[in-house]
Subunit: 80 residues, 2 copies
């Protein structure tokens, strides 16, 4: 059994209102020094067997079709 992480973030050119709302709130709560926040998703995918290149390719396909929206999001697959 192996564990693979898929990080999904909005593409840099896509506005992120959730992240902006958090960043705006911080100074009011007394936290200075944060210039930006972007919010994304993180998936932990447990797979049978080893996380070899074929398995990672399969997870990439899953990420592309089910976990991320490639029009507005970038994703990254890595072994945990």
């Amino acid at each position: 059994m192996s564990r693979v992480v898929v990080d999904v973030m909005l593409k840099p050119e896509i506005l992120d209102p959730q992240g902006q709302a958090i960043a705006r709130k911080l100074p009011q709560l007394g936290y200075e020094g944060v210039t930006a926040v972007r919010q994304g998703k993180r998936f932990e995918v447990e797979i049978d067997g080893e996380a070899d290149e074929a398995a990672l390719e399969r997870v990439r396909k899953i990420a592309e079709t089910l976990l991320a929206n490639p029009v507005i999001e970038d994703f990254e697959v890595r072994v945990l």
Copy 2:
């Protein structure tokens, strides 16, 4: 300027219906070999200056109060 990542995942003992729904759907879509999926959040936090211990401690405080719910979620802070 530095970039810090905050990964937020449900604690292992907390059920994750979103992740389970994805895992259940995969075989129907032709993807075999995935035994579990857990969905969490990933924040990219941009801070002024260096990501030294004091800055990371500040981000940990932000994560605890604003980004994660410590009752049901674990979080991890790391420099990108």
